[in-house]
């Protein structure tokens, strides 16, 4: 895993230091005798325990470190490297400190919590190594997660524009398009779509701006510009059918989470997964003349983009949701550790 990061030079010394600490701990433990076995209260146990406690407190410092990004407190990658390796060393040290015994209920709970913290950390570590690679290969159209709804809205607007240019105005009997004036106003004023129900004057909303970078418009090679002459080849039934399917199926799917009504429709949508979408567009292509293919391919491309966004949301959750759990139980561990230290000092 670590080799994948190509950080041997950075991680090597830290890993060595962790091993040395661990080795030191074991050596301390070996100093114990049968008459006076090493335990938490023995001198060796105390030393090892102190080191483990110090490491846990250091691990907790990563949180304030991240909050104080503007200050140069050492490169974050080194902090993370120390966090990982010392954290891994901390578990065995805690076991050595306890003399490989769990002790009472409180210390057992403390040890279980430590194991949980370590496990969640390792899980996150694994996630953060493998998921980016998976995203790189499978989500070429990923965007900034907070911008997914904004980009989807822009896709819907582009589609409407493209269909109007290529097929002509929407016929009256092809369903009703959702009115997007409010959403557009929100985008123009720099607000983010999901926050629209909030008071727009709140600082949080003012800060989150709809970001449109040139890359978003150029990234998809399948999006082509259509000439007006294309419309001449299409018959009226094709135009009507494409507008209808776009209004009833494609746009509600694209505008999921942007418009609440669309969210309900999209949950039953035939294009809610990649296979379904491909099948659905294939059927639509069959029912329309060949001249409609470029338009349908373009529409399919926006749907696939939206599906990639959904997958990206999922991947993002796997990448980062564990942190809340890890951090939560880590803080709990820190607090209980303080209690354990105070308690231990009282009985010394």
């Amino acid at each position: 895993m670590l080799l994948a990061r190509k950080m041997h030079l950075h991680y090597g010394p830290i890993a060595l230091a962790s091993l040395l600490i661990l080795g030191g701990g074991l050596w301390q433990y070996s100093l114990g005798t049968n008459e006076d076995p090493a335990s938490g209260s023995s001198p060796a146990g105390l030393v090892v325990g102190s080191i483990a406690a110090g490491i846990i407190l250091f691990e907790l410092l990563l949180w304030p470190r991240k909050r104080l990004r503007k200050y140069k407190l050492g490169r974050t990658k080194f902090w993370v490297a120390y966090h990982l390796w010392l954290g891994l060393a901390c578990g065995p040290l805690a076991f050595i400190h306890s003399g490989f015994r769990f002790g009472g209920t409180f210390t057992t709970f403390l040890m279980a919590l430590l194991v949980l913290v370590l496990a969640s950390g390792v899980f996150g570590w694994v996630m953060q190594v493998f998921i980016p690679r998976w995203m790189l290969g499978n989500l070429p159209q990923e965007t900034i997660p907070s911008q997914i709804d904004d980009v989807s809205l822009l896709s819907a607007l582009e589609n409407r524009q493209m269909l109007t240019v290529t097929l002509g105005p929407k016929p009256p009997n092809t369903g009703k398009l959702v009115v997007l004036d409010d959403q557009l106003d929100a985008l123009k004023s720099g607000r983010s779509l999901p926050s629209m129900t909030l008071d727009p004057t709140t600082p949080a909303i003012q800060k989150s701006k709809a970001i449109v970078v040139g890359a978003l418009q150029r990234r998809d090679p399948q999006r082509v510009s259509f000439g007006q002459e294309l419309a001449d080849d299409l018959n009226a039934s094709d135009r009507s059918e494409i507008w209808k399917q776009y209004t009833l199926v494609v746009e509600p799917f694209l505008l999921r989470n942007v418009i609440s009504k669309s969210t309900q429709v999209a949950s039953r949508s035939p294009i809610r997964n990649l296979q379904g979408a491909q099948e659905w567009f294939k059927n639509l292509q069959t029912s329309c003349s060949d001249s409609a293919n470029p338009i349908l391919i373009a529409l399919q491309s926006t749907v696939e983009q939206r599906l990639q966004f959904d997958a990206q949301r999922m991947a993002h959750a796997w990448l980062h949701r564990w942190i809340a759990f890890h951090a939560g139980i880590s803080v709990m561990l820190g607090v209980l550790l303080l209690v354990h230290i105070i308690q231990s000092l009282r009985y010394m």
Binding site: K72, T76, K77, R133, L136, V213, G214, R218
Partner: protein, 838 residues
């Protein structure tokens, strides 16, 4: 000729079927005007102006506001008909000190003429087709010259009666304007001559043409004095009463800056200029670029004192700081009045100089003082007033000299370039050429120094040292842009630019090292400096070629047809930091020249001698030095060493071309398409390691008052994401056209935007990668209690590589996963290539 055809200008016929609807007036006269054609550029028209015969071309090339000739999609020059004003200018204005006898009010050389004020009236006599001589008063700015036309202007000595008629006619117009748009107080003040620097051109005309300004013959309308003020903006105030509706502001806004904010609103007397849909300026989409104010010939549009005071306060601070540091050189910030005393500044509007505070600084240098150093970046040029300077151009430029660290502020930038280091002076001849460097001298006759770095955003191409006590006026790039709007100063600058550019390029080209000074001069006289627009082909694969090119500015790509696809082979850019000049196109010329010697190589390449082996296309605005093959052949006949150098080069190039494989990979094509060749410091994220935690963006925002200067999105290049953050381009397009010179390059590569940015968004528009963000008060005001106080609506922000906060880019510093890097485009290709091969 058939009766349904009309003779146009004696040599063109138009069929009645080709006529548009309403092409004829009620008398059946054809009123449609044919556009100027390319042949008109070569067609002579003989006219007489004030008794003097003059020959002008029927059409002249259409130019933009900076005097650059415009071309159409086919790369052809766009012609526009020559006007009487053009012809009069050509006859009377030979230098920057000459004054055009035709007065103008609604017209400026850099604007499209509209002829709304008629102040530029002249009398013309032209022969009709019927043989009758037509005598008429016409507006010189819009009326086209015609064969045999006789023109009388106010400067005519021969025709005093006509001059009186012209004076009376212009006087009536000016008097009518004055009665409606000048206050009683203004008119009373005009009893005395207005100040020489009076920015209100109407007042000057009133003083010149109206005998008694206090008692005008025409009463003002009922609306006079009641049209109101618009003081909603912090930067610009609008006095609708003073507006004469000359449309200079609207043309400046729409045609020069392409902001499309201003227009005329209404009809008749209530007509006024309006912003968007007649909104107050603050609420409109006006970006406060100031172009309208600079263009306004009256007091209708003015910069508000607050902005000017801010500039002056800033200047005072900067000057105070720098004067304490540079004690040896005498420096003085010039006031607008002092600047207008210098002839070359004649064409610059007073309001522009006022807006830019002390955009010019007078500097006196002692012998041995260095004016600028080769390799440094500089955003200023130097107008030589007196003295003599030595120019030292090294053959291979060392790494860009580091500037002193304390360089914040426009004036610090100006003053800091004045190093107190003593350079070794060349002695003896006027032009020496040693092994290490070329040295020659410049004086006031050369007009300007350092304009290439200023205009091209490239490092200084030479070190300039004062030989004797010398004086220069240092000007910012925005002043230089403004100078280009005046045809007389443009001509002067263009000549100097061409001379300097050729000298700099030729002396540093490895191919020319074996040439003597005399041969270099001969070469310089025979070469051309040409400009090529983006996407325009320079030559095509398979063509016979007899020209060699050197790149001065911009990038070109080379491609070769692979099946049906045009595959990019490589690209070439301007002289890099080491000063190597890119030479290309020589294969065809040299292979023809040494056809027998290179027979084997040509056979291996399977290309006949003299044929281009690849296509070359401009990637952006490219400036090239073109050398004809004949000139090279002449030099090889007299210089055997030069001949040998060329032969060696031809051999190596042909061998390289024979070995070069044109791969089907889109790697190079993507590299070129994404503009990565131009990048010196890309923020790239390794998508294999990046966990999308956004720590880079958050760190950037935290370090810069909550406003991130990067967006973690952009184009992908292989496994890397090129994030939307300043790339520190080799040729930074963003620096072009800043009206207040607030954006510049600091140090080796960082682009810095200073606090006096007015938020016009020009730099953001120019950046092709969307890396400049506009932040600010979108509403254009802030609340002080219950009162709305106008503020600058927005300011431009870009990544300065965290120079302002210590130098380490926080985005890279904060990345927990070793995924964020700063690297050049070249370095990125190396990394990608290594990964691909490993």
């Amino acid at each position: 000729m058939a009766s349904n055809q009309e003779l146009l200008d004696g040599n063109e016929y138009i069929s009645a079927r080709e006529e548009a609807l309403f092409a004829r007036d009620v008398d059946g006269q054809l009123i449609r005007r044919a556009d100027a054609s390319l042949t008109d550029l070569e067609l002579d028209v003989r006219i007489t102006i004030d008794g003097q015969a003059i020959v002008v071309k029927k059409a002249v090339p259409l130019r933009n506001s900076q005097g650059v000739v415009l071309v159409n999609d086919r790369g052809e020059v766009i012609p526009r008909p020559t006007t009487i004003y053009d012809a009069v200018t050509r006859m009377y204005v030979r230098s920057v000190e000459d004054i055009n006898p035709v007065p103008i009010l609604c017209h400026r050389e850099h604007l499209q003429p509209v002829g709304v004020c008629r102040v530029c009236m002249v009398e013309i006599q032209e022969q009709r087709k019927s043989g009758r001589v037509k005598k008429d008063l016409v507006s010189a700015c819009t009326y086209h010259v015609k064969e045999g036309m006789v023109i009388t202007t106010l400067a005519s000595q021969e025709n005093p009666k006509t001059v009186e008629v012209l004076k009376d006619s212009v006087g009536v117009i000016v008097e009518l304007l004055a009665s409606e748009h000048l206050s009683q107080q203004d008119r009373e003040n005009l009893v005395n001559a207005p100040k020489r620097y009076e920015p209100n051109e109407l007042k000057k005309l009133v003083h010149r043409f109206v005998p008694n300004p206090t008692q005008l013959r025409y009463p003002p309308s009922e609306l006079a004095g009641k049209r109101g003020l618009d003081s909603s903006s912090e930067i610009i105030s609008v006095d609708h009463d003073a507006c004469i509706l000359c449309q200079r502001c609207t043309r400046a806004c729409n045609e020069i800056k392409h902001n499309d904010v201003m227009a005329r609103d209404g009809k008749g007397y209530p007509t006024k200029i309006a912003f968007d849909t007649n909104l107050p300026m603050l609420e409109s989409s006006c970006v406060s670029c100031g172009e309208c104010v600079i263009s306004c010939p009256t007091d209708a549009l003015q910069f508000r004192p607050l902005v000017i005071e801010k500039q002056i306060a800033k200047l005072s601070d900067d000057l105070h700081l720098t004067q304490s540091k540079s004690s040896k050189n005498s420096t003085e910030v010039l006031s607008p009045e002092q600047m207008l005393d210098i002839p070359i500044f004649n064409g610059i509007p007073y309001k522009f100089l006022q807006f830019n505070g002390g955009a010019c600084v007078r500097r006196v240098l002692q012998p041995g003082d260095v004016l600028c150093k080769e390799g440094e970046y500089g955003s200023t040029a130097f107008l030589i007033q007196r003295g003599k300077f030595e120019i030292q151009i090294s053959r291979s430029r060392s790494k860009a000299a580091k500037k002193p660290t304390e360089r914040k502020g426009f004036f610090n930038r100006i003053f800091s370039s004045s190093s107190t280091g003593i350079a070794t002076l060349a002695t003896g001849s006027d032009h020496s050429n040693t092994n290490q460097e070329t040295r020659f001298f410049r004086g006031p006759e050369d007009v300007i120094l350092g304009e290439m770095a200023c205009l091209n955003r490239s490092p200084r191409s030479a070190t300039v040292v004062a030989v004797e006590e010398s004086e220069v006026i240092e000007i910012g790039s925005n002043v230089l842009y403004m100078l280009q709007r005046n045809s007389a100063s443009l001509k002067l600058l263009n000549e100097a630019y061409r001379r300097h550019a050729l000298n700099s390029n030729l002396s540093r080209t490895p191919l020319c090292r074996s040439l003597s000074v005399a041969e270099l001069d001969r070469l310089a006289q025979g070469v051309e400096l040409i400009s090529v627009e983006p996407g325009q082909p320079i030559f095509k694969e398979g063509e016979i070629g007899d020209e060699v090119y050197m790149i001065r500015l911009g990038y070109v790509k080379f491609s070769r047809m692979q099946g049906m696809r045009d595959q990019v082979i490589t690209y070439m850019g301007p002289p890099n930091i080491e000063g190597e000049i890119g030479v290309f196109g020589e294969v065809a010329v040299l292979s023809k020249l040494y056809e027998s010697e290179l027979a084997d190589e040509l056979q291996a390449l399977n290309f006949p001698a003299g044929v281009r082996t690849s296509s070359c296309t401009a990637l952006d605005h490219v400036e090239l030095v073109r050398i004809q093959g004949t000139l090279i052949r002449e030099l090889t006949e007299t210089n055997s060493e030069f001949r040998k150098t060329l032969l060696d080069r031809a051999e190596s190039l042909l061998r390289r071309d024979a070995k070069r494989e044109v791969s089907e990979s889109t790697f190079k094509a993507n590299f070129v398409a994404q503009g990565l060749y131009n990048a010196q410091s890309l923020l790239v994220l390794d998508l294999e390691s990046c966990t999308r935690c956004d720590e880079c963006s958050k760190a950037c925002a935290d370090a810069h008052e909550g406003q991130t200067r990067l967006v973690r999105d952009g184009l992908r290049f292989e496994n890397f994401l090129v994030a939307t953050s300043c790339r520190s381009c080799t040729d930074p397009y963003c620096l072009v056209g800043c009206p207040v010179n607030a954006i510049f390059r600091e140090g080796d590569k960082e682009i810095v935007i200073e606090d006096h940015c007015i938020g016009c968004g020009q730099c953001a528009t120019n950046c092709p990668y969307g890396n400049i963000t506009m932040y600010g008060h979108q509403d254009g005001y802030r609340l002080e209690g219950n009162q709305k106080v106008p503020v600058v609506r927005q300011r431009a922000t870009t990544c300065d590589q965290c120079k302002s906060i210590g130098g380490t880019p926080r985005c890279v510093y904060a990345c927990p996963h070793e995924a964020a890097f700063r690297m050049s485009g070249e370095q990125l290709t190396t990394v990608v290539s290594e990964r691909t091969t490993s």
